[in-house]
Symmetry: C2
Subunit: 206 residues, 2 copies
């Protein structure tokens, strides 16, 4: 904001450009310089692009809802995955981006459950802030044989996975966690100690 | 585009998100992954932000024009700098971003002339594609004592500078070029050969 004021002092006739730069800095990972670059490209782009951009922004904001079953993005009450796929195996993920990542791998054929966050005391996020109640309802109402917890392998992800496991296990449903070990194409020499230790512990018979 | 189609196959209900990702990839330096990140942040941001974003985009596109005198951004026929500053020294720059950079240095007190590009045969940009005619008109109509050419010190910038110099010199106006040499805080050891050679050639008496 300091930068914007400084700039405004010098070019006070172009208030709208400052406002646009300000808007762009609202996007994740965009600082003042990048926002400036985006704003100038908008000025130089054709009207058609800017109109399409605005229409799409408003359209996305208006039409994208969350699936009532799994919490994934959807433009209907229930998303395409929940409509078409079996609910006997549920993969629990942090956010809708993770659904897309797993879908791209092409291996998982069950349905998802999006938590919209993980347990993180630093960000003041507890279990009640997650989309967990509807998961428990799904587990009661469907014949679920397995819950795969696919949160990130970091502190918050682990804590969330353990919390969900303690919730789900009493009902007798199998709870699994994504395998950890060396990533494809990795180099043993450069692998970190924790990953290497885990890949040794979880070694598989060939 | 290949990525977008791939993604669309799998999540065909969320066409508007794909369209938004597509729009974001139209910004300079934004690839598919970054555009995806921006699009998701839009979905998760509040309505107020998106409305403000759209309003500003349209506002910028509608109200930002180019100054009739110098070619800089302006919301009037003549920009603030042309209105207030003397026209006896004209600094010629590639684009409006350069005006802001030089303004930030706070040293130059004359007016500017924005070329909107440089001579670049690879990009099919010749002298006729630049805002040069109005520069010659300004030089004829005002009592200009100096033209400072502030294009980038690269091949295209140099070519453009030389071209303008040959145009302007016959009228007896002093033509100068920004000094080249070591940048502030630089390290001799890491300076490239060309810069070092130039800084030796253009050494100044202390």
């Amino acid at each position: 904001m300091r930068c914007i004021t400084q700039y405004k002092d010098k070019m006070d006739n172009l208030n709208c450009i400052n406002r646009l730069i300000n808007c762009f800095t609202g996007l994740p990972g965009v600082g003042y310089k990048t926002a400036e670059r985006y704003a100038y490209s908008i000025i130089e782009s054709d009207d058609e692009f800017v109109r399409e951009f605005c229409d799409t922004l408003l359209d996305v904001k208006k039409s994208v809802k969350f699936c009532e079953t799994c919490g994934n993005f959807s433009d209907k009450e229930s998303c395409n995955i929940c409509d078409k796929r079996p609910h006997d195996t549920i993969c629990v993920v942090k956010d809708p981006r993770d659904v897309i990542a797993i879908e791209k791998s092409g291996v998982f054929k069950g349905s998802y459950h999006v938590l919209h966050g993980v347990i993180s005391p630093l960000d003041k996020k507890g279990p009640d802030d997650l989309n967990l109640k509807s998961l428990m309802v799904r587990l009661r109402e469907n014949k679920v044989s397995e819950v795969i917890i696919a949160t990130n392998p970091d502190v918050e992800g682990e804590a969330t996975a353990n919390y969900i496991a303690t919730l789900v296990k009493p009902s007798g449903i199998r709870v699994t966690r994504l395998a950890r070990g060396l990533s494809a194409g990795a180099n043993l020499e450069y692998a970190d100690q924790v990953t290497l230790a885990m890949s040794l512990e979880n070694r598989v018979v060939i």
